[in-house]
Amino acid sequence: MNENYQMTPEERNLGQRVHNEWLGKGNVGVAYELFAPDCEIHSGHIPPPMAHGVEAFKGFPFFWLGAFPDMQIMDDSTVIEGDRIGIRWHLNGTNSGPFLGMPPTGKSVNMEGIHIFRVSDGKVQELWMEHDLLAVLQQLGVVPS
């Protein structure tokens, strides 16, 4: 971490905008505004070919929005230090579209996650994603709880 980095007010909003405008609404165009062109996403939940570069991952929100079109993503807690933003969030949604190749169940789900962003030059340069996919599979009844 670069502890001495001074974020601008616009940079401090980047995490929240990633959630509200990109992940929550599926605004693919805004991805170019929020992420550096060669931004890297680190996550066990994203296929490696999709993880490198905004061009590759800009459509990722539809992985969730396709399955949960009414989904709401809400930030619960944010910490900012140096060039890092950490956000603890949760989402609610109804499974009315196909998810991971499975037909819709009509069930509502609630999932928690944490995202950590590295910011510089006005854009997100790196994003580390963790979320409780297991809880979603349990709520959909795919995996026993």
Binding site: M1, E3, H42, G44, H45, S77, T78, V79, I80, E81, G82, R84, I85, G86, R88, E112, G113, I114, I116, W128, E130, H131, D132, L133, L134, S145
Partner: protein, 434 residues
């Protein structure tokens, strides 16, 4: 830049509770009003808050005895610290998420939010990549691979722990050779089953936990700790009802998915001392602060073989103490001998003690296996007792005994080492204790 107090609290939790399993420090690090918002399924709700906190590292280390977290990121604002870690472990202990242990190396990430008040953790949200972890431990190894050999040895010990000796036919070769049989042990699988039954009659709850496996070629070395309650006759010693803790290191040869040969060196002397049949000499106390977990670049398998060969020849056989000065990190530790001074000082103390008691001391490597950061070897050691040894005046007797040793290497230096010596066998040959 010095780390803030709140970050230091989180770092102590990782380094002391997770990486070392020291649950005694939990009250120093956790607030009595602690709330875990993401306790894993099955987490206990009984006992004090500290007992409940302790269950999570206990469960984790029970499945992954060598678990080690590396802190990748800490972001602090107000009283919250957001964290990201990478976990490294081997699945050598108990089942996890419904998957039996099979010795896999696993790497996973985890993120968390910790709120710290008055220097203690009071709230926590966690996001470990459990599906990613489960996928790695549930992978079936390729037939004939080192991973398969690790899985066979892990299963062997797990089924022994479960006292499910009928499963032996699936992973023990009918012509299995036990190089350390108990007196009167019959050959092959029937003799092996009988030996374990005798052992579990003496200690019905006995449990062997591997803390590390090193596989190369058809050999697998496994370093472990054993715990059991002495409830029945053991080597003629009647039940003491004491719970014993001792160390043991095993070596197996694995061919075509089955163990074909086995060796073990374990701390029988320490066990006898705990049973009260052999007096315990006073041991130096462990240091107040635990030794650092030294990390560094891995080496090559060939270089690690060479290091072990030089360790034996230069240091032990020729007594060149400067070899240890050069190849032991100054803060290197021996976890099984926590009172020994760190670095070359502690090692050279033992070398000098052995070489003055047995001036013609000689050790030979009989088996060796290495990975990129570990090298394990079994030794046969000989010497003539012409000097004082643990207060025993010279007897002039010729002794021969075995040992298994493991060195961990970082940046080309030995940073940790473990030894299981047949000390009881050695003492017996000198005419004491046996």
């Amino acid at each position: 830049m010095t780390e803030s107090q709140n970050k230091q609290v989180y770092r102590r939790f990782v380094e002391e509770v997770i990486n070392r399993g020291n649950i005694d420090v939990i009250p120093e690090l956790y607030h009595p009003d602690y709330v875990d918002h993401t306790a894993p399924p099955g987490a206990p709700h009984e006992g004090s808050v500290y007992d409940q906190i302790a269950q999570i590292p206990k469960m984790f280390r029970g499945a992954f005895p060598d678990v080690h977290f590396v802190i990748e990121d800490m972001i602090e604002e107000g009283d919250w610290v957001a964290t990201r870690v990478t976990g490294y472990a081997q699945h050598l202990g108990r089942p996890f998420m419904g998957v039996d242990p099979a010795g896999q190396h696993v790497v996973w990430s985890s993120e968390g939010f910790f709120r710290i008040q008055d220097g203690k953790i009071i709230e926590h949200y966690g996001q470990p990549d459990l599906p990613g972890l489960r996928e790695q431990i549930a992978t079936t190894p390729e037939p004939g691979s080192l991973d398969e050999n690790r899985a066979v040895v892990t299963r062997y010990v797990y089924e022994v722990n479960m006292q499910n000796y009928d499963a032996f036919d699936e992973f023990v070769d009918p012509d299995f050779i036990d190089h350390n049989p108990i007196p009167g042990q019959q050959p092959g699988i029937p003799g092996l089953k009988d030996a374990y039954r005798q052992f579990s009659n003496a200690m019905p709850d006995v449990w062997f936990t591997f803390e590390d496996l090193i596989a190369e070629g058809d050999l697998v070395f496994g370093r472990g700790v054993i715990e059991g309650t002495h409830k029945g006759d053991f080597m003629g010693i009647p039940a003491t009802n004491k719970t014993m803790h001792w160390t043991g290191t095993r070596l197996f040869r694995v061919k075509n998915g089955k163990v074909t040969e086995g060796w073990i060196n374990f701390d029988l002397l320490g066990l006898m001392q705990q049973m009260g049949v052999i007096p315990s000499p006073p041991a130096p106390p462990p240091p107040d602060t635990p030794p650092p977990h030294l990390m560094g670049a891995p080496s090559t398998i060939e270089a690690n073989h060479k290091l072990m060969e030089d360790f034996v020849e230069q240091l032990w056989n020729q007594g060149k103490l400067e070899w240890a000065e050069q190849y032991f990190h100054p803060e290197a530790s021996s976890p099984n001998a926590p009172g020994l001074p760190p670095g070359a000082t502690g090692t050279n103390f033992i070398v000098q003690m052995m070489r003055s008691a047995f001036p013609d001391f000689h050790m030979e490597i009989t088996h060796m296996a290495a990975s990129e950061d570990r090298v394990a070897a079994r030794f046969v050691e000989t010497g003539t007792h012409n000097g004082e040894f643990f207060g025993i005046a010279p007897t002039g007797k010729h002794v021969e005994f075995t040992e298994i040793g493991i060195l961990r290497i970082a940046d080309g230096k030995i940073v940790e080492s473990w030894y299981d010596v047949d000390m009881l066998g050695l003492m017996g040959q000198l005419g004491v204790g046996g």
